[in-house]
C-alpha cells in the first residue's frame, strides 16, 4: 500500500513539473514569466556574471557588471542613450564651454528629486564629484581633469578644468560621478572632505542600498546570489521602462544561462558564448544579439629596434597588417566580430567604421616584406599571455597570427608567459617585441584611444615615443582640446587615416557581446558604458 502511495505521489510530481516546464515559454506576456508569483507585477529576471562585484558605492565602483545596477539606481549630468553616439544631457539642462576650454558651465533641469524625496541641487553635484575625487578609489582618475567645482546658485554648476578635455562630457556619464543624495549619504557617514579616503564610512550602507535619482532603487543584494531592483516611486521624470522589478541572478556560467533562458526561467542572459548562442537558434521565444563591444584585440610590434628587431621597421609592420587574415580572425572570435578601420573602434564618435576584410593580400604583403629587406622572412618570438579576449583565449589569436604570418615567410615561435609571471610587467614596461593583446575601454569616449598614439600609455608600451612621429602626437593633443564635436570628429578621422597603414599596432578584431533575451521584452541592447541599460527595457503589452 505504501509503495503504491509513493508511486502515485511520484507520478503526480512528474506530471506537475512537466506542466510547469511546458508553461514556461508560452506564458502570456502579462503574467511576467517567473515573476508571476508576485501577483502580476511586471518582473524581469536577468542572469549575469557575479564574480568581482565589489561594491555599489559610486565612489568606488569600477567593475564591468556593477554598472548594470548603478545605471538603474543613479543618474548623471550626462548619459549615453545609445551605444554609438555622443553623451547627451540627462540631469543637465544646458551646458556651455568657455572659449579657452577650461570652464564648463552646466545648469540642472527643474524638479529633479531623489528616490528619498529630497530635491536635487547643485550642492549634491559638487558633493558627489568632490567625494569621488577625494576617496582616491579605483575610479577617481575619471575626475582627474576637474580642478574644482563651483556652485553659484542652486541650479548651476561650474567645472574648472586643469586642461582642455574634450572627453569631459563622456567622463561625466561614468557611474563613479553619479549624483548622490548628499543628505542621505551624509547621514550614513559620507563626506567629500579632502581626507575622505580615511573618514568616509558610507560604503557599507551604499553597498546594500542606493541613494540616487534613478528609475530604480536597490532593495536587496546577496553576494554571489542575487540583486533586487525595485521601481523608484518618487521618480522625477518619465519612466522609459514599464518593468516594476528586476531580479538579477548572479550566475555567470554560459551553459546554465543558455538553459535557464530557453526554459523561460530567465528573461535576459548576459554572458552567452558563441557556442551556446548556436544552441538557442531554434528557440522561437528567445532572441539573440551578437553586437560588437568596444573591446579590441591587436598585434603590437615594438618600434624600438633593440626590442622589436625586424618588426620595428614600419614596412615590416605594414607587411604584417597586409598579411593578417581578418576574416579568419572574425570566424574564430565568433559571430558579430568586426575589424575596426584603424585605432578607433567602430561605434565611437568620429569612427571611420570597419576595415574591409578584403584588405588582406598575401602577395602584396610578400612584396612589401621583400621591399623592407626580408625577401625570405625571418624568425621571431611571439609572446602570448594567459588572458582571454571576451572569451577567446589570446593563445587562439596567437596561433591564428602565427599561421597567417607563416604565409609570408615570417616564422613565429609562440612563447606563452603567465600574466602574473612576467608578462604583465614586460607589457607595461614596453619590453615585448611582438605580441597579441587586447584593450577594453575605461569610459565610453574615443579619447581613450588616444593612448595608442606616440607618447600615449599604450603607444609607449610599443616603444612609440612622441618625438618619433611628432605630427601624430600633435593630433592627440588637438583632439583633447577640441570641445566642438565637429572639430573633434575631423581630428579623429585624421588620426585614423594616419594609422590606417602605419604604426606599431594592427587592430585585428572588435569583440561581440552575446546577449540572449526572451522575445516578450523590447529594448534589450548591448551597452558599453552600462553593459545592459535596464532603464530602456519594456515588457511588450
Amino acid at each position: 500500500m505504501k509503495k503504491k502511495l509513493a508511486a502515485l505521489v511520484m507520478s503526480f510530481t512528474v506530471v506537475l513539473s512537466l506542466a510547469a516546464c511546458g508553461g514556461g515559454p508560452d506564458a502570456s506576456p502579462e503574467d511576467g514569466g517567473s515573476g508571476s508569483a508576485d501577483g502580476g507585477s511586471k518582473t524581469v529576471v536577468i542572469a549575469m556574471e557575479g564574480e568581482g562585484l565589489e561594491t555599489f558605492d559610486p565612489g568606488y565602483v569600477y567593475e564591468k557588471y556593477s554598472h548594470v545596477v548603478m545605471n538603474a539606481c543613479y543618474e548623471n549630468l550626462f548619459k549615453f542613450y545609445s551605444n554609438d553616439g555622443a553623451a547627451e544631457p540627462c540631469l543637465a539642462d544646458t551646458y556651455e564651454f568657455s572659449d579657452d576650454g577650461l570652464t564648463l558651465t552646466v545648469t540642472l533641469k527643474d524638479g529633479i528629486k531623489f528616490a528619498s524625496g529630497n530635491p536635487m541641487t547643485s550642492a549634491d553635484v559638487a558633493f558627489s564629484i568632490n567625494r569621488c575625487k577625494n576617496l582616491k578609489g579605483n575610479p577617481s582618475f575619471i575626475a582627474d581633469t576637474i580642478d574644482s567645482v563651483e556652485t553659484p546658485d542652486d541650479k548651476t554648476v561650474v567645472f574648472h578644468l586643469t586642461e582642455p578635455d574634450s572627453a569631459i562630457l563622456s567622463k561625466l556619464t561614468y557611474n563613479a560621478v553619479a549624483i548622490l543624495d548628499s543628505k542621505v549619504a551624509k547621514e550614513n557617514g559620507a563626506t567629500d572632505a579632502e581626507d575622505a579616503a580615511e573618514t568616509d564610512t558610507a560604503r557599507n550602507y551604499l553597498d546594500n542600498a542606493s541613494a540616487g535619482s534613478g528609475m530604480y532603487v536597490l532593495t536587496k543584494y546577496t553576494p554571489n546570489e542575487e540583486i533586487v531592483l525595485e521601481k523608484n516611486e518618487n521618480y522625477w521624470g518619465e519612466n522609459a521602462s514599464n518593468v516594476d522589478k528586476y531580479i538579477i541572478q548572479l550566475q555567470g556560467d554560459a551553459n546554465t544561462q543558455m538553459m535557464t533562458l530557453s526554459s523561460g526561467d530567465v528573461d535576459v542572459a548576459l554572458n552567452l558564448t558563441d557556442d551556446t548562442v548556436s544552441e538557442l537558434e531554434s528557440n522561437d521565444s528567445v532572441a539573440v544579439i551578437n553586437d560588437p563591444t568596444k573591446t579590441v584585440a591587436f598585434v603590437m610590434m615594438n618600434m624600438d629596434e633593440n626590442i622589436g628587431g625586424p618588426v620595428s621597421e614600419p614596412k615590416v609592420q605594414q607587411a604584417i597588417r597586409k598579411a593578417l587574415d581578418y576574416k579568419g580572425v572574425q570566424e574564430i572570435v565568433g559571430s558579430g566580430t568586426i575589424t575596426p578601420y584603424a585605432l578607433i573602434q567602430d561605434g565611437f564618435m568620429g569612427s571611420k567604421g570597419t576595415r574591409d576584410v578584403s584588405y588582406t593580400d598575401v602577395e602584396e604583403a610578400k612584396k612589401i616584406l621583400a621591399d623592407a629587406g626580408y625577401p625570405d622572412g625571418f624568425d621571431i618570438d611571439l609572446i602570448i599571455t594567459d588572458l582571454a579576449f571576451e572569451g577567446t583565449p589570446l593563445t587562439d589569436l596567437g596561433q591564428k597570427v602565427k599561421d597567417d604570418l607563416a604565409l609570408i615567410g615570417i616564422n613565429c615561435n609562440i612563447v606563452t608567459q603567465a600574466w602574473a609571471a612576467g608578462y604583465g610587467d614586460a607589457y607595461r614596461d614596453g619590453t615585448l617585441g611582438l605580441t597579441v593583446m587586447y584593450w577594453s575601454v575605461d569610459y565610453a569616449d574615443p579619447n581613450v584611444q588616444l593612448e595608442f598614439l606616440p607618447g600615449g600609455l599604450v603607444g609607449l608600451r610599443a616603444g612609440w615615443e612622441a618625438d618619433m612621429d611628432p605630427e601624430i602626437a600633435a593630433m592627440a593633443k588637438s583632439c583633447m582640446e577640441a570641445t566642438e564635436d565637429e572639430a573633434r570628429t575631423a581630428i579623429l578621422e585624421e588620426i585614423q587615416d594616419a594609422t590606417y597603414e602605419y604604426g606599431p599596432f594592427a587592430m585585428i578584431a572588435q569583440a561581440p557581446a552575446h546577449i540572449g533575451y526572451n522575445t516578450r521584452l523590447t529594448g534589450v541592447a548591448v551597452s558599453d558604458p552600462y553593459t545592459l541599460d535596464v532603464t530602456m527595457i519594456n515588457i511588450a503589452e
Binding site: 558564448t273 609562440i414 609571471a421
Partner: protein, 277 residues
C-alpha cells in the same frame, strides 16, 4: 625470460597493457606516415566539424584534423612520460642509494633536502618552476623531474637500508671491495626492482601531470599538438565532444596501459607477491 613468457600467458591485463603502449609508441614514431593531415596547418573552412569520413576524429576550432593531432600528440606526451621517469629514476636511485648506504649525518642532510621538495604540493611546485623559467617543453620536463625524483630517492633509501645488512654485502667488504664497488655491484642491483616497478606505474602519472600543466597553459607552447592542451582547448566547446573527447581518451588508454604493465611487473619481481613463477 621464461618468467616473462609465463607472465604474458597468465596475466591478460599485462599483455593488454603492453599492446596498448606498443601501439601508442608505434603511432608516435610513424606519425608522419599514419596521420592524414598536417597537425598544425589551419583550414578555417572545415572548423568545428564533427567526426566524419574525411576527419575521423573531427576538427577543432582552427579546422585542424584531431586524429592527426592525437597521433602527433603522442610524441610529446610519451616523451614527457618516459623521459621524466627515466631521469628522475636515475637521479633518485643514486641519491637514495648513497644516502642509505653511507648513513649517519650524510643520510640526514640528504633526506631532509629531498623532504623539503616533497613538502610542496608537487603540481604547484612544477607550476612555479615553469612560470619562473617560462613555459616550453624543456622547462616543463625539467620541472617534472625536479618534483618527482625525491619519491624515488626515498624508496631507494628504504630498500638499501635493509639490503646493506645482507651477508653478501658484508662478505664483499671483507674481501676488500671499495665502497664504490659495493654500492655499484652489490647494493644497487639488489635494490633496483622496486624502483623499476614504481617507474612503470609512474609513466602514466607523469603523462597526466604533464597534461595537467599543459591544461593550465604551462606545458608546451601552442600550436604544438599535446594531449593535455587539446583537452584544455576543447573544454570551451561544451557541446562538441570530439575536441576534448579523443585526446582525453588517448591520455586515459596510455595511463591505463602503463599501469597494467607496472602491476604485471610487480607480480613478476616482488618476491612477496610472487606466486607460482
Amino acid at each position: 625470460m621464461h618468467a616473462l613468457k609465463k607472465l604474458f600467458k597468465s596475466n591478460y591485463l599485462f599483455t593488454l597493457g603492453v599492446i596498448i603502449c606498443l601501439a601508442w609508441i608505434l603511432a608516435a614514431i610513424l606519425a608522419p606516415v599514419i596521420s592524414p593531415y598536417d597537425p598544425i596547418v589551419q583550414d578555417l573552412s572545415v572548423r568545428l566539424n564533427p567526426p566524419s569520413g574525411d576527419h575521423w576524429f573531427g576538427t577543432d576550432n582552427f579546422g585542424r584534423d584531431i586524429f592527426s593531432r592525437v597521433i602527433y600528440g603522442g610524441r610529446y606526451s610519451l616523451l614527457a612520460g618516459v623521459v621524466t621517469v627515466i631521469l628522475s629514476g636515475i637521479i633518485g636511485t643514486f641519491y637514495g642509494a648513497i644516502a642509505g648506504y653511507v648513513g649517519g649525518m650524510v643520510d640526514n642532510v640528504m633526506m631532509r633536502l629531498s623532504e623539503m621538495i616533497l613538502s610542496f604540493p608537487s603540481l604547484v611546485l612544477a607550476m612555479i618552476i615553469n612560470a619562473v623559467l617560462g613555459s616550453d617543453l624543456f622547462n616543463t620536463l625539467f620541472a617534472l623531474v625536479i618534483v618527482s625524483w625525491p619519491t624515488y630517492a626515498r624508496l631507494m633509501r628504504s630498500v638499501v637500508l635493509s639490503v646493506k645488512e645482507n651477508e653478501y654485502v658484508t662478505a664483499s667488504i671483507a674481501l676488500g671491495a671499495s665502497r664504490m664497488r659495493v654500492l655499484m655491484k652489490e647494493i644497487i642491483p639488489n635494490s633496483i626492482n622496486s624502483v623499476l616497478i614504481m617507474a612503470t606505474t609512474d609513466i602514466g602519472n607523469k603523462i597526466l601531470m604533464f597534461s595537467t600543466l599543459s591544461f593550465l597553459g604551462l606545458g608546451s607552447a601552442p600550436p604544438t599538438p599535446e594531449w593535455g592542451m587539446m583537452v584544455s582547448d576543447g573544454a570551451d566547446y561544451f557541446n562538441k565532444f570530439w575536441i576534448a573527447g579523443f585526446p582525453g581518451l588517448a591520455i586515459f588508454t596510455m595511463a591505463v596501459g602503463a599501469n597494467f604493465i607496472g602491476d604485471g611487473l610487480r607480480d613478476l619481481l616482488d618476491p612477496k607477491l610472487r606466486k607460482e613463477f
